[in-house]
């Protein structure tokens, strides 16, 4: 009876000692990030990722040879954690999402000739530079969709690539995939961006795209901060650092070039504190939205208010507040991609 115990104990002791000595003697320093990643991974060493175990997968992630969603047993949860771990970068403390700067789809843009070729934007560019008259617009052939590991980008019914900000992890894989350089990153907190990339002049743009930017600069004038929008090469460039929400600019745009990812916004509301000074009326960009007689409590037309919030700071008695919450675009609106004020 004692023999097996002795054998087992000796064996255990022997291997324990050997291994612990080995661990000291043969110690090799490992990258800190690999350890962090390993902690996130399930450690099943199943090999489903195509790498030799979780450690090798983590190594691959750090080197960029593995894909963030490569861990099958871990699923989406692990993929997101991994993406976050990899994406942690001192420069980008703010959460970023991708945005596609074109909204001139099948309904808006003119087609020169029908493209019969392989389903790839780069491929289409090689054949007479694509079928669109516009040399800057989205080709809608899914090159960005193919590189997205998070199923966050799709070609909508109008033939334009569209990012789902909720699924987007900000990995920037799509940015380089676009032959027309239409995709860039913007803060997730921002909801409005310019949906056009043409550098052509207005008259020419009007010929080929009904939602093309004509370079009219109305949006620049509408912006409340002078540095928020600058014209570069006939095209407004939005700066997201000024705190501007671009609602007024988008509203003023005669070509409807802006894209709003939000369907419902908080609307302004005037409460009983209103003194009827009328200061808010001139700052409101939408005509006939704030009405009332001087001295009497003013009212806001909820149907036309765009929720820009310009009236809030001018109200001395602080009688105006925004009511309601942000709602994301429903499917129907997403397919048209139009920014409408009704």
């Amino acid at each position: 009876m004692s023999l097996p115990i002795i054998i087992l104990a000796l064996a255990g002791l022997f291997f324990g000692i050997v291994l612990s000595i080995g661990a000291k003697v043969f110690h090799v320093h490992v990258d800190e990030r690999i350890k962090q990643l390993e902690a996130v991974l399930p450690s099943a060493n199943c090999g489903a990722c195509g790498f030799a175990g979780c450690a090798a997968f983590a190594d691959g992630l750090v080197r960029g040879t593995a894909k963030a969603n490569g861990c099958l047993p871990g699923g989406a949860e692990v993929a997101h954690k991994v993406a976050q771990l990899l994406g942690v970068d001192a420069d980008h403390l703010e959460e970023m999402v991708a945005a596609v700067h074109c909204k001139g789809g099948d309904n808006e843009a003119t087609i020169r000739a029908k493209y019969d070729g392989i389903h790839d934007c780069h491929g289409a560019v090689l054949i007479s530079n694509g079928s669109k008259e516009c040399q800057y617009g989205c080709l809608g052939l899914s090159s960005c969709v193919a590189v997205c590991e998070f199923d966050a980008i799709h070609i909508n019914a109008n033939g334009i690539a569209e990012v789902d900000p909720e699924k987007c992890t900000g990995c920037t894989a799509c940015v380089a995939s676009c032959p027309r350089f239409l995709i860039d990153m913007m803060p997730k907190s921002q909801k409005i961006f310019l949906g056009c990339n043409t550098k052509d002049r207005g008259a020419k743009v009007k010929k080929y795209c009904s939602v093309g930017c004509t370079g009219c600069t109305l949006c620049v004038k509408a912006a409340s901060h002078p540095d928020s929008i600058k014209m570069v090469n006939n095209l407004p460039v939005l700066s997201f650092t000024t705190g501007e929400n671009f609602l007024t600019s988008a509203y003023k745009c005669p070509s409807d070039c802006f894209v709003d990812t939000v369907v419902a916004r908080p609307k302004a509301h005037i409460n009983v504190k209103c003194t009827g000074c009328g200061d808010c009326v001139p700052v409101c960009p939408v005509p006939n939205t704030i009405t009332g007689i001087i001295g009497g409590r003013h009212t806001i037309n909820k149907d036309t208010c765009i929720g820009c919030g310009l009236c809030l700071p001018v109200c001395e008695p602080s009688a105006i507040a925004l009511w309601g919450s942000l709602g994301y675009t429903d499917r129907e609106r997403r397919t048209t991609g139009r920014f409408e004020i009704t």
């Binding site: 020169r112 000739a113 029908k114 493209y115 019969d116 070729g117 491929g123 090689l126 054949i127 007479s128």
Partner: protein
């Protein structure tokens, strides 16, 4: 601007003209090339052979239709004739006495599992017909190998498994011979060792083997019918010479050296006879012409095809000599199918303007 609207311009990559030959053309040619062998099967094995073929083809086409159109909703598959070929090949690889439903099951397996799980024509890595046959072999070994000839051919005579050499019939029932409709026995290749050891004159067996009046699977017995099909396919450039010629030659040469005839040198006529016997029997020609040449599952380059055919030949002979199955053709092709992706990866022609590869 108005004229621009009426203009229907298309843009695409060059070239802007295409050869008229397409996948359905190729597949139809293979079906045509199989007709002589089907006729031979009908002549030697009777109407039942055609029933087996019909059942296999119907099962294959129905399976293909259901999977591609109904389950996967891919509309481009059914017109390409490839299911018909698979059905014919499965049936041609069965003994005539096999139950009709078995042919249907085999070809349904071939289409459903070996082909469509990978996404249909061109995506499979293994010859569907052979996979179907191997599936049946593993599932119903008795019905697939025991060559019970329950039907007589057009000549009213049961094909003799041993080419008329009654003396060495090992397990044939005596009453069956000559008129009755059941005869059980081995295929020619299975009987070869007995023939050699009994010292029988193998030369006399070659002619029946050539015409096909012997036992075996429906499609494989008649060398002449297969050769007619082969010539047609070669003429239509559906298959090349590389695979069939190297395959058959490899088996021939190996059989010359390891003929099994006591004391015969590789160059003796005895060895040559045995080698010819090897070529004409056991479905070698059928496999070499119709199955090893399957484009999808054989290498793409000529050099690769040569390696593939050599491997098939060696494996066929090894299985015949040492293995548990007397024929070895279908398994050797299946095994080489597994190697094809590796060959395709590493064997490529010497590119213009580069030195040694």
């Amino acid at each position: 601007m108005t004229t621009e609207r009426t203009l229907d311009l298309h843009i695409s990559s060059s070239p802007h003209i295409r050869d008229s030959r397409s996948v359905p053309h190729i597949m139809r040619d293979v079906v045509l090339a199989l007709i002589p062998a089907m006729i031979a099967g009908f002549i030697f094995f009777g109407i039942r052979s055609l029933m087996l073929i019909a059942s296999a083809v119907i099962a294959a086409v129905v399976t293909e239709y259901v999977i591609s159109e109904k389950l996967l909703k891919r509309s481009n598959a059914i017109g390409d004739w490839s299911a018909v070929i698979t059905g014919i090949l499965v049936a041609m690889n069965m003994p005539v006495a096999a139950p009709i439903w078995m042919a249907a099951l085999g070809s349904a397996f071939a289409i459903a599992v070996a082909k469509w799980t990978f996404g249909g024509l061109g995506n499979n890595f293994i010859n569907p017909a052979l996979a179907g046959r191997a599936f049946l072999m593993a599932s119903f070994p008795a019905q697939m190998t025991g060559t019970i000839f329950s039907q007589s051919g057009l000549f009213g005579k049961v094909p003799s498994p041993l080419c008329g050499m009654d003396a060495v019939v090992t397990s044939a029932s005596a009453t069956a011979w000559g008129g009755a409709d059941a005869l059980s026995g081995a295929t020619p290749l299975a009987a070869l060792p007995n023939l050699i050891s009994s010292g029988a004159n193998i030369q006399d067996t070659l002619l029946p083997l050539f015409w096909g009046n012997v036992g075996g699977c429906i499609g494989e017995t008649s060398a002449i019918a297969i050769l007619i099909g082969a010539i047609f396919l070669l003429g239509r450039r559906v298959i090349g010479f590389t695979i069939p010629v190297i395959y058959v030659a490899t088996v021939f040469i190996l059989a010359l050296f390891f003929s099994g005839v006591e004391g015969a040198s590789p160059l003796s006529s005895d060895a040559a006879t045995v080698a010819l016997f090897h070529i004409l029997s056991g479905g070698l020609l059928f496999g070499a012409v119709f199955m090893a040449t399957d484009m999808v599952t054989s290498p793409i380059t000529i050099k690769g095809q040569a390696i593939f055919a050599l491997g098939c030949g060696v494996l066929t002979f090894v299985i015949r000599k040492f293995g548990g199955y007397p024929e070895g053709v279908s398994y050797s092709i299946l095994l080489m199918n597994l190697v094809t992706p590796l060959i395709d990866r590493y064997v490529s022609p010497r590119v213009y303007g580069t030195g040694k590869k």
